[in-house]
Symmetry: none
Subunit: 160 residues, 2 copies
């Protein structure tokens, strides 16, 4: 593969616009990561509102499956199981892009993220997030600030 495509994690931020029909292109790079992570018979990606931030989380099928794994360790029918299942699944929204790689966001997600006419796709490694552009900028600045304090546990082997 060429160009941005040869990556297996979501990196960088990209800004695209809604068209008149409410469609947005998923950045090409992200599309190819999604394809690489796709699971036969599952939708290409799963959206859900972030529970801590005004943005939409986008999960590739495989990553979402992993996310849900802790469920298996809870006894079925327990309250914990139900709670977790509800938290994970109830507001998840599986989705496949059209042939041009565009998606249409359901209203509840657009509202949750406060989207208007443009969206920022923010790569976060395993997943990516969809933000209102202004909020995205703010978020990154904040994250930079905070992670400056969260000094990394020193790497063994002198990092090299």
């Amino acid at each position: 593969m060429k160009g941005l495509s040869a990556v297996s994690v979501f990196l960088g931020t990209h800004q695209n616009r809604f068209d008149a029909k409410g469609r947005v292109s998923i950045p090409a790079g992200f599309r190819s990561v999604l394809r690489a992570q796709a699971t036969e018979g599952e939708s290409l990606l799963i959206l859900r509102p972030s529970h801590t931030q005004p943005c939409i989380e986008a999960w590739p099928a495989t990553a979402f499956a992993r996310l849900a794994q802790p469920l298996d360790q809870l006894s079925m029918f327990s309250d914990e199981h139900d709670d977790l299942a509800a938290a994970l699944y109830a507001d998840a929204y599986p989705l496949d892009p059209d042939r041009e790689g565009r998606i249409i966001l359901p209203d509840f997600l657009r509202e949750h993220a406060g989207l208007s006419d443009s969206v920022t796709f923010m790569g976060l490694g395993r997943i990516f997030q969809i933000w209102e552009p202004a909020a995205a900028q703010q978020r990154v600045a904040e994250a930079r600030q905070r992670s400056r304090r969260v000094t990394l546990p020193a790497q063994k082997g002198g990092e090299g």
Copy 2:
């Protein structure tokens, strides 16, 4: 002997120019280091703005993966994880050179480094940096000054 090509770290300083299409050649020596450090399925290099200097950091795939390793030790969904992921990934920009070894820098990186028509590639061992030539010179001078006062810690064995 093969000259610089046989080295696995980024050494030296090279200055190249943007062409009319906004492309710059990565110095040949750096290219071969990048190839040596490449990871199957990942882009050849990852750029990000330096958070401490007006320059662009260029990471080979493997080194970047190491940089991001601490993430794996944080539980998904923790605030630390989110902050760190955003800080590391959101402004990263993966890319692959064209067949001639040239790259096109996105605007936000060109602006961050204040690039105009030429760029200086500065080898820093594990990574290299991309500078506006004047700023690079200044930077090197400062670094020389400062490192005069610094004593290197004794080396333990072990190359990366």
